[in-house]
């Protein structure tokens, strides 16, 4: 009998365990039934400089609001004045993302956040969230130098700029780039939030919550001070903000000894410069096609064109190629290089610099003219004036041979925002800035998310495979190749090279086409893969070779995909590929070469023919130089002379959509809960006080025997 009972109880226990196991495996989370998480959020973050904070901030536990799609003026009125369910979370159509609407949102207390639909439908003719006068306080024109030219008194370089990127919003602003996600939000809105016959929609309503709480406030000075205090006195130190920093890329036609800093005797250098970065209203989104890619591609193609000639018939002077990072944020890279040159901590110093040619925005030439901008104030120095006139004359003669119309803008016009201005702040150096605009920028989408391949008219015929698109020469590629040839020949002539070699210098449109494809359409292509190190190529999507075009925002270091920004890495390895020589060193020899004075060594994947390739060791004179503002080295966080831009830190950035109930229902639920609590306390007290009466056993006899 006992054994049977044991067996039955053991079987019961086994059955119970199996049943529990089954239910646990097929259990579902309540949270997933309520919230729809939106992946791939593109936020706007807070940036700070010496005196101000810009960008967006949300509450610590996110900002919630009832969804409303802003498609017409009616909707605007509903949101700001008449809607009965404030605060609202706006889903803004592209056409409404402009200064007047955003400032009205900023001043209203009925808006808890904005999600902007980023698309080409409804896009205005121009949209630039940057200021009208970029970098006006850190350029060369000031009270002491050309005061009549300062603050864009003569020319507003970016007249279409609405300054939205430099406003401070106290609600989160996200971008909706994924069409499928936008569809999910729209569907929720249409199911629950639509107005029926003009009357307000009924609860439950669709709502969205945006989390983008930023840690830093007020300005860089405050934020750095608080970080220092935290590091010294707190048990759990937290960094609140990081300075924007990355690396400049530089190289030279004749190798320079990088271990010996300061002045190099008998070395006269012509600097060829361009910028590496861009920005937009949103974080880590900056396609920067006309603003930056046009310059990078032109200079890289010029480097490629110059390489064979400078090896066979070296010109008198050295040509120093440099790509400055962080120029959008008050010239971070160029101010750092000039600072190092002044203190003899760079491979050359300012006495070695003979002249400078900078490549500005050159992509929207459309078969027309190019302009050579120069600084009128430096012409007071006669030697500079003569040198610049000589440069212009040489360039014009080269351009005539190439059928490019090259001209000077009005004599009294100042330099556009350019790295040359930082050099002129310290010393009058003869320099020119090459650009496709005579006065103001032609770029209608300067420093915005819409400055992409379409802005440059780079498009490929359909039905081409990625490898075919890589080498397809678009009109833009041919145009930029002409500019690159002009730049290369002018640099050779400026460096004192012989006239008869000029015709051998031609930029290859195929290289330009590959560069344009890589920087505008798809960075994970076969050419880029062949010139990057094998560990990057193998990692694939998790490294700098993720899918899509690269983003040019400088960001802060160190990053989770490596210490160096992806674009900086690409430019470094492309330069190594275009100017380097293949050596027969092994991998270990390549990582630890005997002498790093004149060259750096790169271990790259190599071209893969028929799917297999051997990695190679490439030797080139390409270097990276740290690009962080001198204000942070000198710890002068309130500096007016140098860039003081920092980016705030944050814990989590996400968004989710869910249904909300009315306030009355919430209060009712709370009230019922409290009432049940009080009732149960009352009942428990009564039962406890009458316990003997309720629970006494009637069989018990009161007699006790002693």
């Amino acid at each position: 009998m006992r054994k049977m009972e044991d067996l039955i109880s053991i079987n019961c226990v086994k059955l119970l365990i199996i049943a529990l196991f089954y239910t646990c495996v097929s259990c579902s989370s309540v949270e997933q039934k309520i919230y729809v998480e939106l992946n791939d959020t593109v936020p706007c973050v807070r940036l700070l400089n010496a005196t101000h904070q810009i960008g967006c901030q949300s509450s610590m536990s996110g900002d919630t609001g009832v969804l409303h799609v802003l498609e017409s003026e009616d909707d605007l009125d509903w949101i700001l004045n008449t809607g009965p369910h404030p605060p609202y979370m706006i889903v803004m159509e592209t056409a409404f993302f402009n200064r007047s609407v955003m400032l009205r949102m900023k001043n209203s207390s009925r808006v808890s956040g904005v999600a902007v639909i980023v698309s080409k439908t409804g896009l205005a003719e121009n949209f630039s969230p940057h200021t009208t006068c970029p970098n006006q306080n850190t350029g060369v024109y000031s009270e002491d130098y050309g005061p009549e030219l300062a603050n864009c008194n003569v020319t507003a370089w970016n007249p279409l700029g609405n300054g939205l990127s430099y406003e401070d919003f106290s609600f989160p602003v996200f971008a909706l780039k994924d069409e499928n996600q936008t569809q999910v939000i729209r569907k929720c809105y249409e199911d629950h939030n639509l107005r029926v016959n003009g009357s307000a929609p009924q609860y439950p309503l669709c709502a969205m919550q945006l989390f983008s709480h930023m840690h830093a406030v007020t300005d860089t000075v405050t934020c750095m001070r608080r970080t220092d205090l935290q590091n010294r006195f707190s048990i759990n130190p937290e960094v609140l903000c990081d300075p924007l920093s990355d690396f400049n890329v530089w190289s030279s036609t004749r190798p320079l000894n990088n271990s010996a800093k300061g002045h190099k005797t008998n070395e006269s250098v012509v600097i060829a410069a361009t910028r590496l970065d861009g920005r937009s209203f949103f974080w880590d989104e900056a396609p920067a096609a006309e603003g930056t890619v046009s310059g990078i591609v032109t200079l890289l193609a010029a480097v490629h064109a110059l390489h064979p000639v400078t090896q066979q018939a070296p010109p008198l002077r050295n040509i120093f190629f440099t790509f400055f990072q962080g120029e959008a944020f008050d010239y971070i890279g160029s101010s750092k290089m000039v600072y190092d040159m002044e203190r003899n901590e760079f491979v050359i110093d300012l006495d070695n610099v003979h002249s400078m040619l900078e490549i500005g925005q050159v992509g929207l030439r459309s078969g027309r003219d190019l302009w050579m901008h120069s600084d009128p104030i430096s012409f007071k120095n006669n030697s500079v004036k003569d040198e610049v006139s000589l440069m212009m004359k040489n360039m014009q003669s080269v351009a005539a041979g190439l059928n490019i119309s090259l001209d000077e803008p009005p004599v009294t016009q100042p330099l556009p925002p350019s790295s040359l201005q930082r050099f002129l702040r310290v010393r009058p150096i003869p320099g020119l800035v090459l650009a496709d605009h005579r006065t103001s920028f032609i770029n209608r989408y300067y420093e915005s998310v819409y400055d992409d391949a379409e802005n440059l008219n780079v498009s490929y015929p359909p039905n081409l495979s990625p490898d075919e698109q890589l080498v397809f020469e678009t009109e833009e590629a041919k145009s930029l190749a002409e500019v690159a040839t002009l730049v290369a020949r002018s640099l050779y002539q400026q460096a004192g090279g012989e006239e008869r070699n000029l015709n051998n210098i031609t930029a290859d449109p195929k290289i330009v086409a590959q560069l344009l494809y890589g920087f505008l359409i798809q960075k994970n292509n076969s050419w880029f893969r062949s010139l990057l190190p094998p560990e990057v190529t193998k990692k694939g999507a998790n490294s700098i070779l993720s899918s899509g075009p690269p983003q040019f925002y400088i960001g802060v270091g160190p990053r989770n995909i490596g210490p160096v920004h992806s674009v900086t890495r690409f430019v470094q390895y492309i330069m190594a590929n275009l100017t380097g020589t293949v050596t027969n060193l092994t991998e270990t020899q390549c990582q630890n070469p005997e002498s790093k004075d004149l060259f750096s060594y790169f271990w790259v994947t190599g071209p893969s023919v028929n799917g297999s390739g051997e990695p190679l060791c490439v030797r080139a004179s390409v270097r990276l130089a740290k690009a962080v503002s001198p204000a942070f080295e000198r710890m002068e966080y309130g500096s007016r002379d140098y860039s003081t831009w920092t980016e705030s830190r944050w814990k989590s950035i996400r968004a989710r959509v869910f249904l909300v109930a009315s306030r009355e229902l919430e209060m009712l639920t709370l009230g019922v809960g409290v009432a049940v609590l009080l009732l149960s306390l009352l009942v428990t007290y009564f039962i406890s006080s009458k316990a003997e009466l309720l629970f006494s056993s009637s069989r018990e006899t009161p007699t006790t025997t002693y």
């Binding site: 901030q57 610590m60 709480h213 930023m214 840690h215 830093a216 406030v217 007020t218 405050t222 001070r225 608080r226 205090l229 935290q230 006195f233 707190s234 937290e238 609140l240």
Partner: protein
């Protein structure tokens, strides 16, 4: 400690110790003094040590009220004006809230 079982002189000594201890910037001792000896000082029938006990309890209560007034004023001023004080505010703070001034 049950006050019922202690002789009156010891109660007086205890009260005195707590009263004197509170002067070392310890207002909580005065609070404890007031709460613990209130019944003894004011609600029990009179005995020899009671007048002195009463005076200690009264003085502790006054000291406590003074501390409460000072602390409340300082805390209100600090919470209201810390953001405006900039650097001084940061140096006076132990934890600084993230993301707000």
């Amino acid at each position: 400690m049950n006050l019922e079982r202690i002789p009156n002189e010891e109660k007086l000594q205890l009260c005195r110790r707590y009263y004197l201890g509170g002067f070392a910037f310890l207002p909580f001792l005065w609070l404890v003094n007031v709460m613990w000896f209130f019944k003894e000082a004011f609600l029990k029938p009179a005995y020899t040590e009671q007048p002195q006990l009463k005076s200690y309890v009264k003085k502790s209560a006054m000291g406590l009220l003074l501390w409460v007034a000072v602390l409340t004023t300082w805390i209100t001023i600090f919470q209201h004006f810390r953001a405006r004080w900039g650097e001084v505010g940061d140096y006076l703070s132990f934890t600084i809230p993230l993301g707000t001034a």
